[in-house]
């Protein structure tokens, strides 16, 4: 049990996907203008990443390994992720059209969010057990949500600040992301 908790802490804070591994930068910059949409995006990613971890683990150990076709790992994982994203898209369009509109192109783009594929591949690389993979997937996606919501909050404040003309918009966002990433380095050594 303690192991799982440590795994979550490590995934959320120490090895944060966005701020320490630099995966999933596209939605991190694209959908972080408002806290509300950032949170919606985060929820969608939590669902997709956790489910992807679970399903890809099953595929890896019950399909790919027994048939010795591990080289199909990337293709089959992408297939799973794409299906999940389609499913999430359907659910969001049905339940919250406003969020569906706000997320726009970034929703189908979760398919190509490297954090999602990254978590599936890392699960296999670290030889996690089924439960460990599920917990790691969940923790990582919570870390992603945590980072994007934090960042969106900062960007909302920055909107109102007096910023040099040449730094307005994306440049200041990139600088902020860099400083945020530096701040997260403070968690290094918290676990292991």
């Amino acid at each position: 049990m303690v192991g799982y908790i440590l795994l979550i802490i490590s995934a959320v804070l120490v090895n944060n996907f966005v701020l320490a591994r630099f995966l999933g930068i596209c939605p991190f910059l694209g959908v972080s203008k408002k806290v509300e949409t950032a949170l919606g995006m985060g929820m969608a990613v939590i669902f997709v990443m956790t489910m992807a971890s679970v399903i890809t683990w099953v595929i890896q150990y019950y399909v790919l390994v027994p048939f010795h076709i591990e080289y199909l790992q990337t293709v089959s994982f992408i297939l799973v992720i794409a299906t999940l994203v389609q499913f999430v898209e359907m659910v969001i369009q049905k339940t919250s059209p406003a969020l569906y509109q706000a997320l726009g192109i970034y929703l189908p783009l979760i398919t190509t969010n490297c954090a999602v594929l990254g978590v599936a591949l890392l699960n296999m690389q670290y030889m996690y057990s089924f439960m460990e993979a599920a917990v790691f997937g969940f923790g990582s996606s919570v870390g992603f949500t945590f980072a994007i919501v934090l960042f969106a909050g900062m960007r909302e404040r920055i909107e109102l600040a007096r910023i040099p003309r040449s730094l307005r918009g994306v440049p200041i966002a990139l600088i902020t992301a860099g400083i945020l990433s530096l701040a997260f380095m403070g968690f290094r050594g918290l676990v292991k």
């Binding site: 595929i59 076709i69 199909l72 297939l79 499913f87 359907m90 049905k94 109102l160």
Partner: protein, 333 residues
């Protein structure tokens, strides 16, 4: 080798098949049925989600149009061309509407109406207004932080030199975002064909305006008095236009002592007198410009092309129809 290929195909194909079954099941429960006409209407809309139609974005408008709750020509941004396309899809006819544009009713750049203090804080007109009613000398004048510029989704309004925004009328779609964004209500929507209008929002009396701004309306009422079509009335120290009556003659702009009325005609026509002139002198009487029409009684008169403002008053009064307005004399603005 061959078996490896077959296994790979079967494994991936099987996974894909399972996934597709899952998705088709999911679409049963979560699928959203959309009227195909809504999608079609949505495709011809500009997609800016500006809300000028009164609905929450283009999707909501498309739905409302199909359901008959919104006018076919309700999208001001798309204009007549979009209205026509929507009409085709729904089999309805669109009524033509005059195109509107946003106009900034303030010309008080910093050199004409200075700032009263240096403002350091959130770069927004709304927040600078909190401090002593804003930094502008004139309480009705433009603050110049560009809340309107930030609100525009069509890149049609930009901050000009001297801190008063300039509207690009070709790009402006009259969505009304800037009108709503301006905390001083300086921006209004006017018909694009009305080229000569007042560009001042001050309701102050003349004495006060004179002290605060050199290009503000001092409510002298000359424009209303001299308007040949009675299109102008003075209300609360500002001239108010009747756009239907206005003939864009430009006399009001010519007589305005502070140039608060802007003559924005793209090409100013000039009057010319032909040989048929009998020299009756009727035109001289109506011409609002001093020494523009000259000539002795009984002899053919002449019009000074330089000073003629192209109002066309002389054309109407000439008893022998000897005067005509010639259009294509372009002026450099």
């Amino acid at each position: 080798m061959a078996t490896g290929v077959i296994i790979a195909v079967i494994a991936l194909g099987g996974l894909g098949f399972l996934a597709s079954i899952g998705l088709s099941l999911a679409s049963r429960f979560f699928g959203v049925k959309v009227d195909p006409r809504v999608t079609k209407v949505r495709e011809v809309l500009p997609g800016a989600n500006c809300g000028a139609c009164g609905f929450a974005g283009c999707d909501a408008f498309a739905k409302a149009v199909v359901e008959g709750k919104a006018d076919v020509a309700g999208c001001v941004v798309g204009g007549p061309s979009v209205a026509e396309k929507i009409g085709e899809i729904l089999g309805k006819k669109a009524e033509a509407k005059e195109r509107m544009v946003a106009r900034v009713r303030c010309q008080g750049t910093v050199d004409k109406s200075p700032y009263r203090f240096d403002y350091y804080g959130v770069e927004s007109c709304k927040s600078s207004l909190v401090i002593s009613e804003g930094r502008k000398a004139c309480t009705y004048g433009c603050e110049g932080f560009g809340d309107c510029v930030a609100a525009c989704m069509f890149d049609a309004i930009h901050m000009g030199e001297g801190g008063v925004p300039v509207v690009d009328e070709d790009k402006c779609t009259a969505c009304g975002k800037c009108v709503a964004a301006c905390p001083k209500n300086i921006i209004i929507l006017e018909p694009v064909s009305s080229r000569v209008t007042v560009r001042c929002s001050s309701h102050d009396i003349g004495k006060v305006v004179r002290r605060l701004c050199t290009i503000g309306c001092i409510a002298c009422g000359l424009c209303a008095k001299r308007c040949p079509s009675q299109a102008i009335t003075l209300v609360d120290n500002l001239p108010v236009w009747d756009y239907e009556k206005c003939i864009n003659c430009g006399i009001c702009a010519y007589v305005c002592p502070t140039k608060a009325i802007k003559d924005d005609r793209k090409e100013i026509p000039k009057a010319f007198i032909s040989d048929a002139c009998t020299g009756c002198g009727e035109c001289v009487k109506v011409c609002p410009v001093k020494n523009c029409i000259t000539g002795e009684q009984g002899k053919p008169h002449k019009i000074n092309e330089e000073t003629c403002i192209g109002c066309g008053l002389c054309v109407d009064v000439c008893p022998v129809k000897a005067i005509e307005l010639k259009k294509p004399v372009s002026v450099e603005a």
